[in-house]
Subunit: 153 residues, 2 copies
DNA sequence: AAGTCAATTCAGTATAAACTGAACACTTTT
DNA sequence: AAAAGTGTTCAGTTTATACTGAATTGACTT
């Protein structure tokens, strides 16, 4: 049998890297990876010691992940510490965040577009195609989102 | 009539911000925005002076954008400088790059998955759902990509 | 209510990435 | 062939952001 613990820490590091690639803090990715792998609730303190990072970092990472609905804070009977667990729909929040960014970009471009006078024909066409790109992209993510949604929910 | 020049520089800055949000250098975004707005070829030197950045930055930005197929380097008769112009399918390359990142992440997760012994049932289920998420996301982008592709042909 | 324990905040530090500008190599002009 | 023009490279600097750790706040425990 393979060494589960090594697989686990490899996985945690991988997710850290992936997160960094997506523009998220590496530690947040590690937290996500750990909770994903273990499934069961892990305490605030355990996250800090196991990942060997400061409690301050854990605090900001879990808030980030909580805000996006990727993890949830749960209570454990007889325990004073906060515990964290992977959310029921961890990916929905991520997709929604991406969608929001895309929508914002689309709106920014359309704002510029609407300022341009009618004579600026070719420029208008290009900006239009740019905002169309974001529309299409948003549509693709929207589709992914609904697919992810009814996987479980 | 609205002041076109102000709209133009606003747009350029907006695209710079959007690029930064996507994890790309701000200057690369500005270059893209400028070429997008103007449509016609702009010289290497003009990019540097107009955006008020070093020639070194222009060099690396245009290479990045060229590599992704977002812009193209064109010659202008009687001119020694390189000129740059928005590519015919500027968005295709961007999407392809995003897809590649997603595919890589998916594979990483599946690598961990395949290492896990059969007893690790629940963990396997979670990692499977994680890689499924990337599959779904990739499908969404793939769809967007083909839509973008046949907008122009 | 004093003492412990837990999480957050925030000022300071470390790290990573972007950006600069001068040196370089190559090309064209005079 | 010297001079001027052009793009790239890269060592050094700046900037942005992640991270730390000590101070702080609040909530339990005795």
């Amino acid at each position: 049998m393979a060494n589960t613990h090594r697989i686990r820490s490899d996985f945690v590091e991988k997710v850290g890297q992936i997160a960094q690639g997506e523009g998220l803090p590496k530690i947040a990715g590690r937290v996500f990876g750990l909770l994903m792998f273990d499934g069961e609730p892990i305490s605030f303190g355990a996250l800090a010691t196991e990942l060997q990072v400061s409690r301050g970092s854990i605090s900001s990472s879990v808030r980030l992940l909580e805000d996006r609905g990727v993890i949830k804070r749960v209570g454990v009977p007889g325990e004073r510490q906060d515990f964290f667990q992977i959310a029921d729909q961890p990916f929905t929040g991520l997709l929604e965040g991406a969608l929001k960014r895309i929508k914002r970009a689309e709106q920014e471009i359309e704002a510029s577009l609407s300022e341009l006078s009618i004579e600026a024909g070719a420029t208008r066409d290009r900006l239009r195609s740019y905002s169309d790109f974001y529309k299409t992209l948003g549509g693709g993510l929207q589709h992914a989102l609904s697919t992810v949604d009814d996987k479980k929910g």
